[in-house]
Amino acid sequence: MARSAAIRRLFESELDDMIALARLLCRNPHDVEDVVMDAFAEVVARYPQLDNPGGYLRTTVVNGSRRAARARHNRRRIREANVISLLPRREPPIGEHYLDDILATLTEREHTALVLVHYAGYSYDETADLMQEPTGTVKSLVSRTIQRLRKEVSA
């Protein structure tokens, strides 16, 4: 019973953040459901063996979202006014924003690092853990990405 209560608390405290994180990292709203469902189901199934269920949940969401983003990113995109009107939009825009086109050009790594550090508020060390990369690599990746964004915005 204590386990059920703990899982419930985890659910209440993390649900919104995990949905938001998955939405940003997947870059497509239709991938969110699978990623978050899978992650919570895994936590429930493995709960007795987990030292840090919250950390495991976050890592599972990040990894699942990155896999989904890579899979989508790898698909071809056709952009033509009369073609795109026939094809389903993969990433429906929410309003218009001057950063959208620039963000769309970021690689999956750049985008993930940017979201984890500048949206989710993870430290560089935490982000490095989640991305399974050295902290220094993540720092320079974020720095270069910001520089690139600034340059693109100024252009």
Binding site: F11, L15, V32, D38, N74, R76, I78, E80, P88, Y119
Partner: protein
Amino acid sequence: MSDEQLLSDLRARFDMIATDVPNRQRLAAQLREIVEPPRTRPLLAAAAAVALLVIGGFVAVSGFGSGGPDAVDVAAERVLGFEAAIEPDRPSGRRFASTLSGSPVDLALPDVTNGRWSVTADTDALVELTLTLAAESSGEDPALRLFIVPDLDAREVANQLVSGLFDTDVLSESQSQLGDLKGIKVAMASRQGTSRVAFRLGADTYVETVGIDRRYLVHIFTRPSGSFVVWLDAAQHDFNRARGEADRLRSSIVLGD
């Protein structure tokens, strides 16, 4: 613009995107079923098992990686002809016919051991065939794309392709042949993990992919109205097998006038 302003705008945009989740309430309800089952442990296990089955079902339904279980979206894609699976029990060598930029294209989809070809795009601008390999279902399946670049010969297309690569190395360039047509074959690979390859099909039209650790093999053939392109795009670890399967498929292509 200052970094502070840029980051502030970025966070605001991220905030807005983060809330754009369709069926959020349904998702929350489904998750609640996982974490808040009736009070006994056997039922908790049963609920988790059901949830996993539901997830498995969603994956099976979405099939081609559309990702979400939203039936309307999946149906919409099918109505639009975006996904058109070839039945696994199809007769060997089943023909597939399409039209690219007004030119008929006909080919045979060979049987694949422990895998299958699917038609994942069939439009006037592009035909895309995806090779699903059961053993390596990483979500980044090899793809063979067929399209026509109007008004350019094979050399011009190859030059344009090579000049527009991003973090992608050209490994080799050699001659290619498709029936009586002679062409150019360009082999490429991702340089630093992620790479981008694009073809311009018109003033506002292009087809591109961004991939991680990919290998590419492009065959380009000059035709009267432009160039016919056959583009294999596969992960490094799938490439050799995908190339063999793609060569079998490519050799069956018949182009109409």
